[in-house]
Each structure stands twice: as structure tokens, then as C-alpha cells.
Symmetry: C2
């Protein structure tokens, strides 16, 4: 069973279906009302995993997900997927020119120019989700819905237009999260996510990033967020290239943990293609492992000199 | 004239009124449909300044503002203000128990528990803004609106409840932006905002933050964002303690610019109280100027040895 941030018929369900297609164990999809509720179900073991959005190239990070991952029992990401944010416009079969077009305000904002050009006389109406818009069209409340393409699987509506988006490169990234267990195998093209809680001593973040840079580890995303209720503390959400099983990344994670005992591992998992962010590390080191040989050779050297076998 | 991201009756208008109260030059407030439109009016000189939201403690950063500040002609922040996100519930005078309660989905999400406890039978309806909800109530479409407190200035509605919020510490930070000109005077309790565009060479951000840490400059916020259309580049939005007029901060800005010619100054301005973020630098150095004396003394030493007057 796979929990996802619902309702049915949204982009998150579409992401959950992508995860489900990749792993037949997740063939039963269960929508939850909120991100924390979906994650709580995974924490309690009611579901095997949870699918939630983590960042959107237009709307930014999803703070609800970031907070929910940091609080409560640990969950780790085992996969990611990136969806193009392109909508379908759904109408009742045989209906005429739409007079009203409904969707979540975020979605309406992303198709405003399309509506102005293609349905200039239609009034845009806000609903609580893109799926709620499809339901309202089905119920005859409005004439057209701007929805995730997956919505037609649930509602007997007709596709008036598809691939609709003013911003052509809008994307949302989703994570598949599980209770801690065996990590996915390194693929040579992985991402590791970690959240570090640090006191805001001057230079604290500089020290952390120096530990990554000194190990030639590429950072693909960073975001600070104040710690709820604990003044003078920050959380840094960091995505980096590589897998915890790799010597360099493991060494760097140990260094972060030495600096900040509150460091929480959020998983190592294969990067989705096409990537949401440009990643120089991936280009520079197709093996994906930053200087792994050097770390192994150096550790062997220390082991040998400790045994009196070298110098 | 002061432009703001409208419509009338939202928290952004409330922030604009706070700026206006502090500076009588801004007594004429003009709403614009979008953040870029408000900033464009300031760039063209049609208004003296623009007021826009920059981050929210629940919803996160406002990418529209961050992108709009980085593209186009430079604008610099000259003031900030932080508003508690607490709503008023507005009804038509003399109306009975509300059956429907309308607002922007973000606002509805932030008062869901309040509605469940206080208006358990009311249906929540999404509108395009908190102000649109107030207008719809006035028009008789819905019975109650969850709005910014300032909305009652525009609509002859009655306040059913005030200070409404499930999350007690939700806050939004707003900036007042102008075309580049004389900086606000340093107050000893200032913030400097800067956006740095860097190639994603490994260690690029580590180098930038080391320049701040080595000068004992406190970082209060950082966020990475991919550069639109230029693969392999990142933008880092950085807020730091101190004022560009201070020797240490000026020296650090010069260093950032040396590393990244695309560094854009987004202003030095007094910090709003209460602060949105915990700030150790402010506590540690009440003067606000990180080691200013040391920078002056060191520069004088270099000047003197260049003149053969010391060693």
C-alpha cells in the first residue's frame, strides 16, 4: 500500500502511479488529506511508503513536507520522480463552449494566458484542488476544470485540451518515503538528502559546506528554515550528489554529524530524469562517486600505518 | 505613491499601510495584480516604491518576488515589515449563523481548526484572494469571509471574530523596494540582502559563505534557486546581519562580487521587530557592525605601510 497526499486525481496521485509502476509492491494507492497524515500512515506502518511533493519550480519548496520530515520518527526517501506541470482542461461530454473554468488558484495562475487566448469569455473560479474542480464540473457546477491529466481516470469527463501551461518548464519533484531500512543500491547517479539543525553561531553553515567542498561533493539544493519554537536554531535542508554507501559521501555525512548531532538522514536514492536542477557533479563525474578511490586508498593507508606496515 | 501587490484588503495592503505610516511620502497606495507588475511600476518610476511579500513562515519563500527582483532593472529594499498572519472573520451586519465561509485556500488551510470548533456546520469555499472573499460576502454569495484585518476598511462588513489563526506564530515578511539611490542610514540593527549567481562548480557556495564567516558576518537566511534557462547556474538568495555602509559588510560584498560578477545588491535596511528569524549576530554584537573597528584599523595599517610609515 502506498499513501499519497490527495485527493484522487491530482499531480501527487500521478507521481504515486509513477512510483507504483516502478515497484509492483505499491499497487494499492491510498489518498490522505494532508502531507503529515500521509507520512504518519507510513510511520505507523499502515502503508509501505508515502508519496509527497517536495519542491515546485514555480511555487518553491513545500514547507509542509520539509517540516513533517524533520519532526516525528525518521522516514527516508528511496525514490524521487519529477513531473512536468502541464494541465488538462476537462469538460462534460458534448458540452458547448465553457462559460466557467474552475481549478485551484495556483493552477489557474499557471494557465491564465492560455485561458485568455483560448477561452476569452470564460470566468475563472477557484476550487480547493484541481481534482475538486473536476468533481464540480461533473456535478454541473462549472463548465470546465483545469486538472492533472490523471483526473480523467476518475471522472467521466472529456479532454478539451491537454499539455496546457503558460510556463513551459514548470516541474514538481516528489519523494517516495519509507521507514528506515536497507538503502536503495547505488546507481552512480544518486542524490542524498539531509537536514542539519545548527545553532546560528556565525560560520556554522560555512563549516558544514566546507566539509562538503573539501570532499569534492556537489550541493544541488540548500534552504534554511527557522526551527519551530527553538529560537537561535536553524535547519538547513541540503541535497547533494552521491550515495551514502559511497566512501566520500559517508565520510561527509559523518563530518556533518560531528558538527551537528541533530543531523537527520533523509535518504539516498536514484536521481530522476529529466533533472529539476542543473548538476555539475553529475557531468564532471559520470561515475557519481566523488573521488571514491582516494577515500578508500587513504583509509587503507591509515589502517596500514596503524599496524606498523607503512608510513 | 506606493505600489503594492493587491487586491485591496489583503495582508500586503496592511504591510503597505505600515510603510506608509512610517513615511508620509507614501500616502497614496495603488494595488497591482501581480508582484512583477508592482515592481515594474517602481522600475518605470510611476510610483516611488513597491511593497511585496518576500517570505512566509508557513508557506515559505515567495518565488515570484525573488525571481522578479533578480530580473530586470535593479530595485533595492529600503525597509521591511513583519506581520502576524491573524485573520478576521467578516459577515454582513445582522446576518445569522454563517452557512458558508469563504477565503483563499491558503487562508482556509490556516484556520481549519478554528472553523471546525467555532462554525462546525459551515462549508468552506475557496476564492482567489482573502479580499475577494470579503467582496463575495458583501454581494451575498457567501455568509462569512476569512480576511486580513484591513479588509473592514474597504467593505461595510461586521467583524464576527478577530485574531483567528490555527498556527499562532505564522508571520509574513514584506519589503519596501525602490530604484537604487541613497541607502537608509545604518541603525546598528540592519539586514543586507543579496542575490549571487554562481556556476555550480563544487565548492562555489562554500567559498562564498567562507567569505562571510571569515569576516564574522551572520547569515540569517539562504535559499538556492536554479537560474531560469541557464543550465548549470544557481542563484543563492542570502540575508545577512549588518549594513553595506559598515566596513565588514562592505568588504564581504566586495569579496562576493569578486567571486561572482553577477552578484546583485538587494538593499540594506533596518530589521523589523519582532524578527521573523532568530539572529545570533544581533545578540552577540548589539552594535550590529561585525568587527568594524578591526576592518578600519587593518585598512589604516595597510595604507600606512604603503606609505612607508609602518610595518
Amino acid at each position: 500500500m502506498l499513501a499519497y497526499f490527495g485527493p484522487q486525481g491530482t499531480f501527487t496521485e500521478q507521481a504515486a502511479r509513477a512510483f507504483s509502476a516502478a515497484d509492483p509492491a505499491h499497487d494499492d494507492l491510498v489518498p490522505f488529506d494532508t502531507v503529515p497524515a500521509a507520512l504518519a500512515a507510513a510511520r505507523r506502518g499502515e502503508v509501505d511508503a508515502a508519496c509527497v511533493p517536495v519542491e515546485n519550480s514555480v511555487e518553491g519548496a513545500v514547507p509542509a513536507t520539509m517540516d513533517a520530515l524533520t519532526e516525528g520518527d525518521p522516514l527516508v526517501a528511496v525514490a524521487e520522480t519529477v513531473l512536468d506541470v502541464r494541465f488538462s482542461v476537462l469538460v462534460r461530454p458534448g458540452a458547448g463552449e465553457p462559460k466557467t473554468i474552475a481549478s485551484h488558484p495556483h493552477a489557474l495562475a499557471q494557465v491564465r494566458h492560455w485561458i485568455a487566448e483560448n477561452l476569452p469569455t470564460a470566468t475563472a473560479v477557484a476550487t480547493t484542488s484541481t481534482a475538486a474542480a473536476a468533481r464540480a464540473v461533473l456535478a454541473g457546477e462549472f463548465d470546465a476544470a483545469v486538472s492533472a491529466p490523471v483526473a480523467v481516470r476518475h471522472y467521466p469527463l472529456e479532454v478539451l485540451a491537454t499539455d496546457v501551461a503558460d510556463v513551459r518548464d514548470a516541474k514538481t519533484r516528489f519523494l517516495l518515503l519509507r521507514r528506515p531500512g536497507p538503502l536503495p543500491r547505488p546507481t552512480g547517479h544518486d542524490r542524498t538528502s539531509v537536514v542539519v539543525t545548527a545553532t546560528d553561531r556565525i560560520g556554522a553553515l560555512s563549516d558544514l559546506l566546507a566539509e562538503l567542498a573539501l570532499r569534492r561533493i556537489n550541493l544541488t539544493r540548500i534552504e534554511s528554515r527557522p526551527t519551530k519554537g527553538r529560537l537561535g536554531e536553524y535547519r538547513f535542508y541540503i541535497d547533494l550528489d552521491g550515495h551514502a554507501a559511497e566512501p566520500g559521501v559517508g565520510d561527509a555525512l559523518a563530518a556533518l554529524r560531528r558538527h551537528c548531532p541533530d543531523t537527520r538522514f533523509l535518504g539516498s536514492y536514484p536521481k530522476a530524469e529529466p533533472v529539476l536542477r542543473a548538476e555539475a557533479g553529475a557531468r564532471a563525474e559520470p561515475g557519481g562517486s566523488p573521488a571514491a578511490d582516494e577515500f578508500v586508498a587513504a583509509a587503507e593507508w591509515v589502517a596500514s600505518l596503524r599496524e606498523g606496515l607503512g608510513a
